[in-house]
Symmetry: C2
Subunit: 232 residues, 2 copies
Amino acid sequence: MVREGRTFRWSGRYDYDLNMVETLETQLNTFADFRPVLPDGYAESKFVFLANGDPDIQLEVLQQVPKARLRVMDTMDYWIQNKPESLVRTIGQVDILLMNEAEARMLAETPSLLAAARRILRLGPKGVIIKKGEYGAVMFTDFDYFAVPAYPLDEVRDPTGAGDSFAGGFLGYLARANRVNLDTMRRAVVMGTVVASFTVEDFSLSRLEKVTPEEIRLRTEELREFTRFVVD
Amino acid sequence: MVREGRTFRWSGRYDYDLNMVETLETQLNTFADFRPVLPDGYAESKFVFLANGDPDIQLEVLQQVPKARLRVMDTMDYWIQNKPESLVRTIGQVDILLMNEAEARMLAETPSLLAAARRILRLGPKGVIIKKGEYGAVMFTDFDYFAVPAYPLDEVRDPTGAGDSFAGGFLGYLARANRVNLDTMRRAVVMGTVVASFTVEDFSLSRLEKVTPEEIRLRTEELREFTRFVVD
């Protein structure tokens, strides 16, 4: 499949079970000379998400939001391979790094996700959230580990956008809660998981356009019920 | 790697992250003409585990334990491919089918695990537990879905035996609790997960020989803590 955007042209291949993705080619399109200057009001932003992009540009954007309370960034294999030093520098300036499993292993150069997370935390961020597709998501901080399964779906029609909508749900929850602590972060990871579960049910934004707050609340409660167990 | 046992000679290959395993060859050794006759006392067994093996022989064993309250069976790709009709017949006679993810997809012929579980439940068992290696385990019944992550480990030294020790923890918990309901089944899945987490930390039985009840209790409580979140 191919994703053609303003900034990227990405082509890749999903596995049979849609969990693993292999990048075949990334072309930078207009990204190659993209120099974002944020409008004045944006400088006051408290919750900032740096979507996947050139880590040097992510850093430039970050310098334009000096009042940010929570800075979250995404990245991808292309930057790990082509701009590792810039990437590590930018990772050192954010609070949370969001990435998928294969990228975490690639960045940290270890098959153990726990070891990978520890190495990534040493680069500076307070937390790393690793998205695992159908297997849910985990969040590592220096003092906490959290795992949530994906919401079980009959059919995943299109995983495109799952990562970005996860980020949207995560940041959106925290911005509205306006409190950043381990409990709200865990809850935000669950929100990201639930929002992404709607995204992948249909192509493009079709499902997200129709989703209601009630549907989101229901899946959140179901996820809690699906993971509950009693220790005697 | 090769596992040489009395009944099997299996050779296969684990992925980089040790989650997926590919069978290269299975030879049946003495299994080919193995006809187990259970000693008298065994006929009274209440909790029965049919480890992976020829489904016709599993059925013969099952007929020797008529008082079983919970009958659990494991299987593998070899039987799905070579004895599908016998396998389906035996599955129809047990309460719980335990298998790994790739086997569930293979048996049900669908990439969706949820769809696979539904199809397997229609074969007769009351529940299907799907083991996912590093991604934990899930249990489907007609009225319940439960997901538990694996206990996060720095290093997985040898995944051999993880499935059988999962089964041991699962059955052992239920046999001791002597109550089979959704709560004890969930708790038993957690016990299986925890026991397997010790198994894979070292080769053969080295780690299991040393594990203490206190260590098991601690990891169980950690798993509960790792999955806890508050819904507002």
